[in-house]
Point group: C2
């Protein structure tokens, strides 16, 4: 693990709240034209909104994240997933910024998703939940920001799928974001990226307990499929280097191989734990929807049109990649930086050296944290956020 | 696909034969001390053994290969898996060499494996089949060579797991091989390599139809698990570059995305086809055994002892890696080359530029084929094989 960047304070106890943002009278109109209501959103906030409503930073989570980004829910030893980045004196400084962190549409941690009850039938949606896009995620984010009294954000920040949301937000609403931070993100998945997600989905959908997505009332869940999906994905989150350091060829609880099919190497034990503990906190249908939304994301597909739209974008970007990330490697970041620069959008790009692969964005990598802190300090100054 | 290296002839119709090599009176004694009998081996031969018995080349297949390496079984359009490499005038020239190609112990294409009947019970072994090592595979290979009248081989050649067998053979029997060709092989899997195989095995063993390996008589097979295992493995056989070229983000049979969970991108269709067609030819238990044998392979673990043993090795090696192979990248080859060179063993190493990733060893990559041809021509000369 990287060293701590300083003796900063903690947010302490925080809580997740919920709010209904779209109702039958005022439904969420999706890119597909479908209407979805009600849409309830689970979210957390940290820090205080200033009088001008101009110091808000919006956190967009990645594939398996949730609203609980920072602070803790009672056990200080189990903080939120981005607690190293967000808090008093931390790179996303809650002494200065008002931070908003929701669970995504389609998720399974409090926000309306495929496990929610479908009005009319009173049964969980399952695969009847409409397919949505990254732009639809942004529609919900905007409504939440408005609900909290924020019309323009000092910044939006996200890693991986989170970065996709930030990019889409700036494209669709060029005046909304003063700044956007895209951490190990991508504007377009490669065939290999799609392939990994496709196999994960097949593992879930071919599971005998999937029942076409209607497993909620059967007492069974596609646990094998979801476990396998998570184990496989986890390989792509770590670098080969970090796996070598972390596990090498070491044998679990023994000095010599036992020659068996069960867990023998430490890396096997680690993956099993990752796969099985994931079952406690994630829903298979949400995994399907949120991986599929990434596959289809391709905002620069019609490049001439995108360049025209980008002319209006006033957002200033920080794009960060990690040199050992092979899920979304630096080329993904460079490709999107090139498009932004071609359109004359302000971009700062940093490739950070870190041994931890894609997972680096969740870890306390000092150069990464310094880069985010410096960028946000400049943003605060430009946006007139009081120190 | 790479261009053809020349208008060479074909072997035409070939056949797979079978021979019982170990019996209850003369069982195969495994590294573990367990005894296995009977052991029947399916094999093919191409070309003619010369009077001195000195022109034999032994082919060691990889994880999912079989005895049918070259020629065809009736349909010239469906040749053996290494038909581009083996045949009259080809790099492994059957006008000059007598080629032996068996199915591996533990396999499912004619050689005794977990799907074979266990003497005594009369039921398929399943997981009661003993765990074996690469050295055990070599024990069976040697017996087959002797059976065919060959005491010393001009060469043994193998890709991936096949190369592991060649390396082990030279280590265990330093006078057996005049030459050894290790194509995209490894002397030691990394944690990431093991991780991919571990997830594949979990997919199989957690399949409801696995029944602890005793699925043969249930009328069911762990088809979902084996399909997922194959789909995932296939991602690691292709380079990101070749996936980009082959599929990119193209949509299957359509010009625009259909926004659905079923197959939409071409790469999804390809992987599904690979996974499902694999079911026709492979047994899940064999997949478990043959991936596990690779995990445990580590002949240089005790390096000082290995260096001492290597002093006696008279084999001359060709080690080939491919620059876009990320399953067993060039570092795997370089690591083993370094050990061989430290021990004073003769080694020629070539990293070949090829866009096709690990799969390159199965494909007609001109520089690769030229390298193998030139090396084997020198071997033939040194070993006194008539032109």
């Amino acid at each position: 693990m990287a060293t701590a960047t300083g003796p900063f304070g903690s947010l302490g106890l925080v809580e997740t709240r919920r709010v209904v943002l779209f109702t039958e009278d005022d439904p969420l109109v999706l890119d597909s034209g479908e209407r979805l209501a009600p849409v309830e959103v689970a979210y957390e906030t940290y820090g205080t909104l200033d009088a001008a409503g101009g110091n808000a930073v919006f956190v967009c989570h990645a594939l398996t994240g949730d609203a609980h980004a920072a602070g803790h829910h009672g056990d200080p030893a189990r903080p939120g997933w981005w607690d190293t980045l967000i808090g008093p004196g931390k790179p996303v400084d809650t002494d200065r910024f008002f931070v908003i962190s929701p669970n995504l549409l389609g998720g399974c941690q409090g926000t309306t998703g495929p496990g929610s009850l479908e009005p009319g039938t009173g049964r969980p949606y399952g695969l009847r939940f409409p397919l949505f896009t990254v732009a639809d995620l942004v529609r919900v984010h905007r409504r939440l920001a408005r609900h909290l009294g924020v019309n323009r954000l000092a910044a939006a920040i996200g890693g991986s799928l989170g970065g996709m949301q930030v990019l889409q937000w700036a494209l669709d609403h060029p005046d909304d974001l003063h700044a956007g931070l895209l951490i190990c993100a991508s504007a377009r998945l490669t065939a290999q990226n799609i392939a990994f997600s496709a196999v994960a989905r097949e593992a879930i959908m071919r599971d005998e307990h999937f029942h076409g997505g209607d497993y909620y009332e059967t007492g069974e869940r596609p646990e094998v499929g979801l476990t396998i999906a998570r184990m496989m994905a986890h390989i792509t989150y770590l670098s080969e280097e970090s796996m070598r350091e972390k596990f090498g060829r070491r044998i679990q609880d023994a000095s010599a191989p036992r020659f068996r099919f069960g867990v023998d190497f430490e890396v096997e034990s680690y993956l099993q734990h990752q796969g099985e503990s994931f079952l406690q906190r994630f829903d298979a249908n949400s995994y399907l929807y949120l991986t599929r939304v990434m596959d289809y994301f391709d905002p620069f597909r019609d490049l001439p049109a995108a360049l025209v739209r980008l002319q209006a974008v006033r957002t200033s970007f920080l794009v960060v990649s990690f040199d050992t990330d092979w899920r979304f490697d630096t080329k993904h970041s460079l490709d999107l930086v090139r498009v932004l620069q071609t359109a004359g959008v302000r971009v700062t790009f940093r490739e950070i050296a870190s041994p931890y692969g894609h997972d680096s964005f969740l870890l306390e990598v000092p150069e990464y944290h310094r880069t985010v802190a410096a960028f946000l300090a400049r943003v605060a100054e430009e946006a007139g956020v009081a120190p």
